[in-house]
Symmetry: C2
Subunit: 400 residues, 2 copies
Amino acid sequence: MSLPGLPEGALAGVRVIDLTRILSGPFCTMTLADLGADVIKIEPPGRGDPVRAQGTMVEGLSWYFAAFNRNKRSLTLDLRQDAGRAVLAELLAGADVLVENFRPGTLDKMGLSAERLEAINPRLIVCSINGFGSSGPYADRPAFDFIAQAMSGFMSVNGAPDQPPMRTAPPMSDLVAGLYGALGVVSALQARAATGRGQRIETALTNGLISMLAYLSSEFFATGAVPERTGNDHPLVAPYGLFQAADGTVAVAPSNDTFVRRFLEAIELGHLLDDPRYDDNAKRMARRGELKELIDARMAPEPRAHWIEKLNAAGVPCGRVKDLAEVFDDPQVLSQEMVLEIDQGDGRVVRTTGFPIKLADTPCAVHRPVPDLGAHTDDVLAELGYEAEAIAGLRGDGAV
Amino acid sequence: MSLPGLPEGALAGVRVIDLTRILSGPFCTMTLADLGADVIKIEPPGRGDPVRAQGTMVEGLSWYFAAFNRNKRSLTLDLRQDAGRAVLAELLAGADVLVENFRPGTLDKMGLSAERLEAINPRLIVCSINGFGSSGPYADRPAFDFIAQAMSGFMSVNGAPDQPPMRTAPPMSDLVAGLYGALGVVSALQARAATGRGQRIETALTNGLISMLAYLSSEFFATGAVPERTGNDHPLVAPYGLFQAADGTVAVAPSNDTFVRRFLEAIELGHLLDDPRYDDNAKRMARRGELKELIDARMAPEPRAHWIEKLNAAGVPCGRVKDLAEVFDDPQVLSQEMVLEIDQGDGRVVRTTGFPIKLADTPCAVHRPVPDLGAHTDDVLAELGYEAEAIAGLRGDGAV
């Protein structure tokens, strides 16, 4: 579908100036780039986004960096120099969106106050992603995913009941805030079509996770009771969780009485539902441990594959706990194109995860490889009208 | 900003027909409704979305249901009756978006094949949210958040190294898929402005979580090594994690050497960085346990508040693990309006979490309270041109 160098996709024609680095912001702008936006990533000359130097290098490229920066162009700019800031202002004048994930106030210190941005381009949408929000008592605190997980309540509900609160290993607060940022940007584009004006958007690591506490927060609001950690058990339903087969565990999630009956009948324990010790959910919850032992004993002789086939045939949600080697070799995952091979155009091929949004007519696609630092500096400057000599001058001054 | 009954916001004027129930779909459509879309939730007469009967009831209303369905209108329709399906077709003819989270193929069985939907309204954007994707070997399997967490690899990386894989308590796969669905919908609106045509979008519980494995997946791709569970420790950096103060633990996340120095100096252990046992990150990783004991011993005499103030002043990301009672009483969380009180207009007030996307000019807002089942049936039918008698007839037949 896409021609070389010409981004297509749902957001084709949308230009994003990307001042972000590390995680939350780059995930936001990559999501926009995957959807077809032309994202120009601005990086400090010489070193670039610190993530370029993190994670395992493969043929000189950090695949961690690749996982957050495909489909972007890279422009180096020294924003401490007037010449660098002048280029940025020219870019913003012709852009639709600016995304940044500095600490609150940093953009102002760079000379890009709300008033200045408004003067440069009243149609510009400005998206800020930060730790706790740009106002309130914690606005100036340094933030980090682990801290956002701790302070949002997210960690408090995760983990086993007899163990400490447990973080989620993927940096969920960064990713969720980045995703909300992308949704805010595209929604603001929709609003701009009606109003003709851009606006400011903000998402925060903590606020994003708080919005995803789901029934844990609603039950807290309704009852005032602080939720207890229940590990892999469901707080309200039994049986549920990991059960022991001959060659490992099977995750089984019967969410209500109908599914519990299907599950127990499929493993030939349907008679338990006539046993006065197990004939309703409250009793099964009270005897969760005993019930698990009975189920484990029944399932232990046969391998996982046997039970997974049988339970799926009975309509019971179930599956294996897969490690990443199993996930990325899974025929379903591969058929969903959730492993992406990006041809860097120089013999290198990078693997990243695929696109979770499937759009039929304007699909997400690899429009551009992972950019080397400053790979598009000359192109972008030329688009702004800079002649080769002027570009050489900027380069000589270390401004690009 | 908003007038009663008139949705405003970034997505004002966008009409969404919502066939979803339970979790992933309702989260998607609520997010669109929070942004100002007019979401008409279609529910079976009599019982409605099963979540209406789940969670704690407060004055007759499930606050769990409220947490996923504010800002929507509720229309009851029996889609097994021709009359019900006819109303649905009329609604789709005038709508911008249809969202559904049935098992793949269900929409076809309801008579809403791709061809039929195209005939009804070629501008309609159709968003499907399912478990594993609508194609591939697992397409027909029943899905559930716990299973998606297990099969996406997400569970395999969470938890303590000496403990089993650990699910995340909030239903992250539902929420992430719902959020990607919302982003897909708004992106397709943007595409439609250029093409004049709607399109189909799909997101899946597993695919969403796979896309959020972040550096865990990129490191796996780069090295082939399956990541080990590291609990609350950082896989690559030490010191990091939960440390013991006089009245509980403090989460501290110094992400690189600069922050490690700030941390250790702030707790007067800066000399450890001159000790040949701890003078680089590799050594500190190897002696992580010893190092933690030294830090715990240093921090144990003083309360959490002391260290949090001191470490924040030194620029070290840190904070308490807050439980939900503490989160929803936190001055920062309250100042960010992350607790929302929804006035139901009948004396009842519902509490839910607030809006994580802050848009300056078209803010997310409570445009409508949580709908009682079928509360807007008459209004919506009247908008379609149904007279009172015709509505009474539909009601008499149990079609609405």
